[in-house]
């Protein structure tokens, strides 16, 4: 087995913000060589802490002014020896700088060119300016999470969803294209729409609407077909316990844990159907019972009785969770705790290759010297002229 299955694949990465960088981070974790094209004059690249450093490891960084003819020529040279191009430019920029698929395929016919944009590269709305936060609304998901409010709180806008989801779709498409290339020698063009990437994950709402029906309950706050089901306040500072009871066994387990609440003596206790019909009342009883209780104690008791339940945990607790640590979801690298670079576990606790986020322009000599064959004098002259910057 070779976990670095993409060794030998070189990716030219023009992407910025979240979706593209998360994609190339994953591909880098599988062994691809990712050349990130940056510019030291642009703030989206020069500020490298926080989220940037989490999603830009496993890459080599070079700095290039792609608005100059020399910079564009260097890109074309780089593409000649590469296999994949990842971009999220506006349509106008792509053509203006000679970086469109049509141009690059003349240089490298079997290039895999992957374009991610808000609306996709075709259609009447292809040129609309679209931010990920607005796509949350346009895709419909904002209307399915929480209650609308002017502060946009707990409506699914944060943490980012559309971007990480787009990254997963983009990675899927690229892996399929690489397999196709390895088997046939043929490249491909992928035109990915972030709007479509988000909508494709909302089948329950779409299918109900297509049948002229409404979704019974929002899944963001409760589990359909379960009673009780919800997120309930417990004793202590901001402590919440999620509970979802679907089967008779789980119901009996809940009744044993909540013995003093006499749930099984109530008229709704007899059948699952009766409990679903009385869901609101059962949820209210559970909420009242939990309000002064310790979430951790009740959670343990529910687990012992086979009842699905979890405290609503935060990142600090998850990073410290022995289960997550044993599964190598987090590990210490050079004295710093890092999150796994791939969300699955292979033999020997392998979770993807990891190299730290590069300093901006860190690999200029490798990219422009080793890969493009430019002499040190020529590179110095290009830096002086502002092409390498």
């Amino acid at each position: 087995m070779n976990p670095l299955a993409l060794e030998g694949i070189r990716i030219v990465d023009f992407s910025w913000v979240m979706a593209g960088p998360m994609t190339t981070k994953m591909l880098g974790a599988m062994g691809a060589e990712v050349i990130k094209i940056e510019s030291s004059t642009r703030p989206e690249f020069s500020v490298r802490d926080g989220m940037f450093s989490v999603i830009n490891n496993n890459k080599k960084s070079c700095t290039l002014n792609i608005t100059t003819p020399e910079g564009q020529e260097m890109i074309r040279d780089l593409v000649r020896s590469s296999h994949v191009v990842v971009e999220n430019f506006s349509s106008r920029v792509l053509v203006k700088y000679g970086l469109s698929y049509e141009t690059l395929r003349e240089i490298k016919p079997d290039i895999i060119f992957v374009s991610a944009s808000g609306m996709g590269r075709t259609g009447p709305e292809k040129d609309l300016l679209a931010y990920g936060s607005l796509l949350q609304g346009y895709s419909g998901r904002v209307g399915m999470i929480g209650e609308p409010n002017p502060a946009l709180e707990a409506m699914g806008i944060l943490p980012a969803w559309t971007d990480p989801i787009t990254a997963l779709w983009e990675t899927t498409a690229i892996l399929a294209a690489i397999r196709h290339w390895r088997q046939t020698g043929e490249g491909a063009y992928v035109d990915l729409s972030m709007l479509e990437a988000t909508v494709a994950l909302l089948p329950e709402a779409l299918l109900h609407a297509a049948l002229g029906r409404d979704v019974a309950e929002p899944r963001s706050t409760t589990e359909t077909g379960a009673a009780p089901s919800g997120c309930f306040r417990c004793a202590g500072d901001d402590q919440w316990l999620a509970i979802s009871v679907r089967t008779d066994d789980e119901w009996r387990g809940l009744c044993r844990v909540m013995a003093d609440a006499d749930l099984d003596g109530q008229p709704f206790a007899a059948t699952a159907e009766a409990r679903l019909a009385a869901k609101e009342e059962i949820n209210a009883r559970v909420a009242a019972w939990l309000r002064g209780r310790d979430a951790r104690t009740v959670e343990a008791a529910l687990h012992a009785e086979g009842v699905p339940a979890s405290r609503s945990r935060h990142m600090a607790e998850i990073v410290a969770d022995p289960h997550m640590r044993e599964r190598a979801m987090f590990r210490e690298i050079d004295g710093r705790v890092e999150m796994a670079t791939l969300p699955w576990l292979a033999e020997d606790n392998w979770r993807g290759a990891f190299s730290p986020t590069p300093a901006i322009g860190q690999d200029n000599d490798y990219v422009f010297g080793t890969l493009l064959g430019l002499s040190a004098e020529r590179r110095a002259a290009l830096a002086e002229a502002g092409t390498i910057r």
Binding site: Y138, R141, V142, I157, G187, E223, P308, S310, R311, W344
Partner: protein, 409 residues
């Protein structure tokens, strides 16, 4: 077609053979994506059928539309993996495949002992190893256990009144399906044909944690990720720029006129009310950020008198980023999605035809062949529709003993 005509492009994964075992939304969706990309996927159901066949919504004829969304394009067969013969038959099928995708239940919670099995991906709630494996859970519970719900309701003005909140729809499970597809394609390449192939352990909880890039970055930077209360000094800036949610006479819009030139044009869209000339209220981006809540109130007074489609159209003409908050019905009729042939039509045996999202990208081969989108295809049939396929497979062996393990044969 004659011998000079190339066969139609079936997708980049054409020729790949995949076996799917067990009932799980992420697993089924991931396998369907591979089928969409050209793989031949055989879904094995237990004799009672996949419980997801009963999941809402149902067509008038009683077929599950969700099941169809998850399983169209697959061959369906019925085998009882609980019997010795059935287990052996699954091993034979695995030996003829390039990938096995399974739930932990379907492979009895461990690495299957089939000598000729290919790369095998096992999906479970908390993974196959670790001290918390086996905790009772559900799709809803996983979103709370993974931290997704807590951080989706953070920061908020009043944590006491704002419980943690999960994803919309089946999103958490669907995202899991994407990771199933990615992990499967990686495992295929990593295995390089080895038999038995590597085992990949995929946990629902892990992949939800993986999505929490921002909370993890905050934790790494030493920030307090345990406190959900909003810091009023930080204003209402969302995701790097000002975004406002404006209720309309019908529905709502979201708008983000971040830069000064965009703001100037947005003011014209609103009819340039007097307050837009108050420099202390909205003079530049910093001022607008500080006054975001007050501006929301003033803009909402105007927007509630407008139809959302009129606001969006006027903003579009003014080149201001503005979109409606869509309803599911809006999406089915959306001109951009329709123009890109995003919806396939799925025909059920009772005659119902439902639009369903296809892959969210156009895939065009170097030869210019485009993966089909927007066509009509049949919904998946009954569990024993693959009986001919199974009969063919059984014919190649002395299959008399196995027939008892096969539904419908």
């Amino acid at each position: 077609m004659n011998r000079f005509t190339r066969p139609p492009f079936r997708g980049p994964l054409s020729g790949l053979k995949v076996i799917e075992l067990g009932s799980d939304i992420s697993l089924a969706f991931g396998a369907r994506l591979l089928a969409d990309l050209g793989a031949e996927v055989i879904k094995v159901e237990a004799p009672a059928g996949d419980p997801l066949r009963r999941e809402a919504p149902l067509t008038p004829g009683g077929e599950s539309a969700l099941f169809a969304y998850l399983n169209r394009g697959k061959a369906l067969v019925s085998i009882d993996g609980g019997t010795a013969d059935g287990w052996q038959l699954l091993g034979d099928l695995a030996g003829q495949s390039d990938l096995v995708l399974s739930t932990d239940d379907a492979v009895r919670g461990a690495e299957p002992d089939w000598a000729q099995r290919p790369a095998t991906l096992v999906v479970s709630a908390q993974g196959l190893s670790g001290p918390s494996t086996g905790r009772p859970t559900s799709s809803f519970i996983q979103q709370h256990a993974s931290g997704f719900a807590f951080h989706q309701a953070s920061p908020v003005t009043d944590p006491e009144a704002t419980p943690p909140v999960g994803c919309a729809d089946w999103e958490g499970d669907m995202a899991g399906g994407l990771v199933v597809a990615i992990a499967a394609l990686w495992a295929l390449e990593a295995a390089a044909g080895a038999r038995p192939g590597p085992l990949v352990d995929l946990s629902h909880e892990d992949l939800l944690v993986y999505m929490l890039v921002e909370p993890f970055a905050d934790w790494q930077a030493g920030m307090d990720v345990t406190d959900r209360r909003r810091d009023p000094a930080k204003g209402l800036t969302i995701a790097g720029g000002l975004v406002w949610y404006l209720p309309c006479a019908d529905g709502a819009v979201m708008v983000s006129p971040r830069e000064d030139h965009q703001w100037a044009r947005w003011c014209e869209v609103m009819g340039s009310p007097d307050w837009t000339r108050d420099a202390e209220l909205c003079g530049d981006r910093v001022v607008r950020t500080n006054n975001a809540a007050k501006l929301q109130e003033l803009m909402a007074r105007w927007s509630v008198t407008q139809r959302n489609r009129d606001v969006v159209e006027a903003a579009k003409q003014a080149r201001v980023a503005c979109f409606p908050v869509s309803t599911p019905r809006d999406l089915i009729e959306n001109v951009q999605l329709r123009s890109r042939r995003f919806f396939d039509d799925i025909r059920f045996t009772d005659g119902t035809v439902l639009p369903m999202p296809s892959l969210p990208f156009r895939f065009v081969s170097q030869r210019g062949e485009e993966l089909a989108r927007g066509g009509e295809t049949p919904a998946p049939g009954r569990p024993d529709d693959g009986r001919d396929l199974l009969a063919t497979l059984l014919a190649a062996r002395d299959g008399s003993a196995e027939r008892s393990a096969v539904g419908g044969l």
